[in-house]
């Protein structure tokens, strides 16, 4: 079975069946299967700007998926089956990029004719033909540098080998990649690269997954002719996340280009020249970016490696599990590398529509928090105030007794940031059966309504935000709240010169953005059309608004959201072919919680917490001790002894995301599942199972005994949560159908939703690496 979570981009966009243009295939597979593929997957794909779209898949993240079977997309890869018509039409937004037959040329690679788009490089042509070209400096998501010279190929009628990554393919070019000239040229390049590269593979963390090591197996010699000393380079301090051994650097400049083009921090540069050339910051400076860990992945050698996992494991010892990140609401696709019961590192997985191939530093490095502060046995607070270990039976019985003693009106349940949909489903069912309707998910606020799905999702989709040409950010620090979404917006600014206006706390977003003010008056004046940015939005072709879920914590949130609705209507943000209304969630649990209706019911009291006598916390830690009444019975079910555990009367140990199969929905409404990578600790149990067992003791037995049973229940409540790896877009309702809002805007400024990016949830708060990052990168 093909790995279910992978979404590979097509090597070239296929013309939509509805577009009327001749169906055209670029596939090296024969024409009959190409024709079939045209029928099977008619979704057209927006071509990313320039040559940056991904023509090839290779390298260390994508093991098990060789480029050869990637090119069989005609039969093997579809875009995830049935799509909503809106997605297809939104993809057509990029129709201007669509390759037409007249935009194509034919070249021959090793005697095989391939059809490629104009403007592709020789290297990309070779990839279309299924020929792997060795490379160090070329990276499909970065600008072309052409400085490593490893990708030399022979082109007929040229006197010298050409660097294929930097040479545009021309019609009729005859490219040869297997000739003795090519071999000799690459061997020469390799010999030069190895002149200054230390022979420290045995102590290098990149060993086993090093591009230089791999390629020297093909092009390297068993001895060198260079008898002088190798040079040595001063190591740079890039902070607690990225370890540098600059002597190993081969000056491919990928990290420099990543920093300036993707992360947007202009800190790294190429210093010096010739043999003295080195990568550095010149002045002593840390690389402060939420995406800085990605330089570790793009570094082809061991110059940049992960500091937290230095010298801990070899790549071949690790078991890889494909999973989903829960540190924010983006749902980045990750690979958890584990050895035995220990998570050794976390790497990104390719998913063009979610995280491309990047993940945030918190997703990558917070894993050491999984080993600290863990709850591994049920605990009950004894009469003397100490927590004492007890059996599961006794713990559950205590909880059930306490719950049954309390009037349902005086009960409340809060789902934490990292809760999976299954546990939330079970908890909602349990609480509802006990008569309690006072439920909310952390981050959503206590009185959120979940009636309109389009109001709490990133409707443009994460990838679709790249197409916007004017964007208004309301009450959000996007770089901190959702670094990968910020990166998409940054792409729009870079590629489409999108204009970005910010109403909210002033933050460096790493791209050009106009700070319009941090108060509701600005928002009101945009809504009234008085503010110049209102014109910018209404003139834009694909206007968008990004609202941070920090506004949910405001007392005038309805007025704010109404103002945003007005702006979106005035600027025509929601149309049939484009929905630019985006609500960015903060936490992994929020979207699924809203979809499942994990919100206060109509009879629930809201606001005053002093009446609560029984509080069920499903990994929820945001309440301060003052929020919880002294006489309340607090149940804490979670995996970390975090803030709320200190207040708990009973602690039920649950499992972390790396240990369970849980469903999560990301902020654009895409359902994804984690997979268990490591066994759970101690006596901990799956969260939904704990609740199921508790329900029996409380006399309200839940009607499911298996994970599939819970999921069947989820299917009944929110069918989209059953369709894993699919994006379920929301249908926007016209404004007229919405209830009128009478609330008034308040003048208070928008607050920061996240004070410290590196510590937002129980796992990252328990992480030493994140503590070090906080110390090194804190913005105060």
């Amino acid at each position: 079975m093909a790995p279910r979570c992978r979404r590979y981009p097509l090597p070239l966009p296929r013309s939509s069946t509805g577009s009327g243009s001749r169906r055209f295939s670029f596939s090296p597979v024969d024409s009959s299967s190409a024709a079939e593929s045209g029928v099977a997957g008619s979704t057209s794909r927006a071509l990313h700007s320039g040559v940056a779209w991904y023509a090839g898949i290779r390298g260390k993240f994508y093991e098990g998926k060789q480029s050869s079977d990637f090119y069989k997309w005609g039969s093997g890869l579809s875009l995830g089956g049935v799509r909503h018509a809106r997605v297809a039409s939104m993809a057509a937004v990029g129709a201007k990029f669509e390759a037409k037959p007249e935009d194509c040329i034919e070249v021959s690679v090793d005697g095989k004719d391939v059809t490629i788009a104009k403007g592709m490089t020789v290297l990309q042509a070779c990839e279309v033909a299924g020929v792997d070209i060795p490379r160090f400096c070329y990276h499909p998501r970065l600008s072309i540098a052409g400085n490593c010279r490893m990708c030399l190929v022979e082109v007929e009628k040229t006197p010298k080998p050409v660097a294929s990554c930097a040479m545009p393919a021309l019609p009729g070019m005859k490219i040869k990649t297997t000739t003795p000239l090519v071999k000799k040229a690459r061997e020469g390049v390799m010999e030069f690269l190895l002149i200054n590269h230390p022979l420290d593979c045995p102590i290098c963390d990149q060993g086993g997954e090093c591009d230089l090591q791999d390629q020297s197996m093909v092009y390297g010699s068993d001895r060198g002719r260079f008898i002088e000393a190798k040079r040595s380079v001063v190591d740079k301090n890039l902070g607690p996340l990225v370890k540098t051994v600059m002597t190993r650097c081969i000056q491919c400049t990928r990290c420099v280009r990543f920093a300036s083009e993707i992360a947007g921090v202009q800190d790294l540069g190429v210093l010096g020249r010739g043999g003295a050339e080195e990568i550095g910051t010149y002045v002593e400076r840390l690389m402060v970016s939420e995406l800085s860990g990605n330089v570790i992945d793009i570094c082809p050698v061991g110059a940049l490696t992960a500091k937290p996992s230095a010298f801990t494991a070899r790549s071949w010892e690790l078991k890889s599990t494909e999973s989903i990140d829960v540190s924010d609401a983006i749902g980045a696709n990750i690979r958890i590398d584990s050895r035995g019961p220990e998570v050794m590192r976390i790497l990104p997985r390719l998913n063009e529509e979610v995280n491309e191939e990047w993940i945030s530093d918190k997703a990558r490095f917070a894993y050491d928090g999984l080993k600290r502060q863990r709850l591994n046995e049920p605990l009950i607070r004894s009469a003397d105030g100490q927590l004492e270990p007890v059996s599961w039976a006794r713990a559950l019985k205590t909880v059930a007794e306490a719950a049954l003693k309390v009037n349902p009106d005086q009960m409340a349940a809060i789902a934490g940031k990292l809760s999976d949909a299954e546990a939330m489903m079970a908890l909602k069912d349990l609480m509802n059966r006990l008569g309690c309707e006072r439920l909310w998910v952390e981050g959503n606020g206590e009185d959120t309504v979940a009636d309109l799905r389009s109001n709490y999702l990133v409707n443009s989709t994460i990838a679709g935000l790249e197409n916007t040409d004017a964007c208004l950010l309301v009450g959000t620090e996007l770089r901190i709240e959702a670094p990968l979404l910020n990166h998409r917006l940054r792409k729009a600014v870079r590629n489409l010169r999108a204009k970005v206006g910010v109403v909210g706390p002033e933050t460096e977003l790493h791209f050009k953005a106009e700070h319009l003010g941090n108060n509701a008056e600005v928002l009101a004046s945009i809504a009234e059309g008085k503010h110049p940015f209102a014109q910018t939005l209404s003139k834009a072709k694909f206007p968008s608004i990004v609202v941070g879920s920090g506004v949910l914590q405001r007392s005038d949130k309805e007025a704010v959201l109404a103002a945003v609705q007005t702006i979106s209507q005035n600027a025509n943000v929601i149309r049939d072919d484009w929905n630019g209304y985006n609500f960015v969630l903060l936490n992994a649990a929020q979207a699924a919680g809203l979809d499942l209706g994990f919100v206060p019911g109509s009879r629930a009291t809201v606001g005053d917490k002093s009446s609560i006598k029984f509080l069920y916390l499903l990994g929820a830690d945001d309440l301060t001790p003052e929020d919880i009444p002294v006489d309340a019975f607090v149940v804490y079910q979670g995996h970390h002894g975090d803030r709320s555990a200190y207040r708990a009367d009973v602690i039920l140990p649950g499992v972390a995301y790396s240990e369970k199969e849980g469903t999560f929905e990301n902020t654009e409404g895409r359902t994804q599942q984690t997979s268990p990578a490591v066994p759970t600790v101690g006596d901990a149990r799956d969260d939904w199972k704990i609740i199921r067992a508790l329900s029996e003791l409380a006399g309200v037995k839940l009607p499911y005994d298996t994970l599939n049973g819970v999921r069947a229940r989820m299917l009944a409540v929110a069918p989209n949560l059953f369709r894993v790896d699919e994006l379920e877009p929301a249908t926007p309702l016209p404004k007229e159908s919405l209830p009128e809002v009478k609330a008034k805007l308040e003048s208070s400024p928008f607050k920061r939703a996240i004070e410290n990016f590196y510590m937002t949830d129980p796992i990252s708060r328990a992480s030493k690496t994140m503590a070090q990052s906080t110390a090194a990168f804190s913005r105060s």
């Binding site: 540069g269 210093l271 010096g272 010739g274 002593e284």
Partner: protein, 276 residues
């Protein structure tokens, strides 16, 4: 000649060099033990580069807090330089601006001067550092009023540039890239300055008269004695005659007068235009 290993930031540790030597020797030892000896005779296998350290360390006179401003007169020049380039390509002016800043700053670029230029052309400071570290004629540490640059490229080296440098260093009592106590002289190394016909040669960058009077003078056909005389002349405030120091030579002509091409050169044979 002893290399100034210690004074160079990129020098390789001697220990590392020694182990490298053994490694290299092991590869070839199967053929001959003479080679081992040859390698040993190569001396310390360190790598030397003409550029200085690619790293800035704050000192009292070179840190981002030390203010740098272009003078009013030079601000006019800055404007003039930037007018050469389109408005959206102001970064093309980085090199001329660095040159201007270096002349104003007495021959070297402080970190704040580079930051200032980054601000003027609207790029991140690192982009300016990249340029400044690339070109060896930009000095990123203090130099003397007269910065003496010895050509170290092959023709000059074969004609004795190492001796010229040794004479200079000995006479001035400094290491390479070190400034004399009176702040007047410093010695650096340059790559080929296109004067190979009159090798060996040095260049004297003369910062004694600011931006207006800045000169960059070649002194060619040098001997260790003559180069010391030049230094002494500068010390006295004289401006020694630049160009070839060989009295028998005129510019780059042959010493002692022409030996060939003595007659009137024959005109090239012309086509018979009437033939076409």
């Amino acid at each position: 000649m002893l290399r100034q290993v210690a004074s160079r930031g990129l020098a390789v540790l001697r220990g590392a060099a020694a182990s490298q030597r053994t490694c290299a020797a092991r590869v070839f030892s199967s053929s001959s033990s003479d080679l081992h000896e040859q390698i040993r005779r190569l001396g310390p296998l360190s790598r030397e580069y003409s550029t200085a350290l690619n790293l800035h360390r704050n000192t009292t006179d070179n840190n981002p807090e030390v203010p740098f401003e272009f003078t009013q007169a030079n601000l006019e020049r800055v404007k003039e330089v930037l007018s050469h380039y389109p408005k959206n390509y102001k970064q093309s002016g980085i090199i001329p601006l660095l040159d201007l800043a270096q002349q104003q700053n007495g021959g070297w670029l402080s970190i704040s001067s580079m930051n200032k230029i980054a601000e003027i052309v609207g790029v991140a400071p690192i982009r300016v550092y990249e340029v400044a570290t690339f070109y060896s004629m930009f000095n990123r540490q203090k130099v003397g009023t007269y910065h003496l640059l010895v050509c170290g490229t092959t023709p000059c080296m074969l004609r004795g540039s190492r001796d010229i440098e040794a004479a200079l260093l000995k006479h001035l009592g400094v290491d390479r890239n070190e400034v004399t106590a009176d702040g007047k002289f410093s010695v650096g190394e340059m790559e080929c300055m296109g004067c190979c016909v009159n090798a060996p040669m040095i260049v004297v960058a003369d910062y004694s008269n600011g931006v207006e009077g800045f000169t960059y003078n070649y002194f060619e056909d040098l001997t260790p004695e003559r180069v010391v005389e030049i230094v002494e002349a500068y010390r006295k405030g004289e401006k020694p005659k630049h160009g070839t120091q060989n009295p028998e030579r005129l510019n780059c002509g042959p010493a002692g007068g022409l030996t060939t091409l003595l007659g009137e050169p024959k005109p090239p044979p012309c086509r018979d235009l009437s033939a076409c």
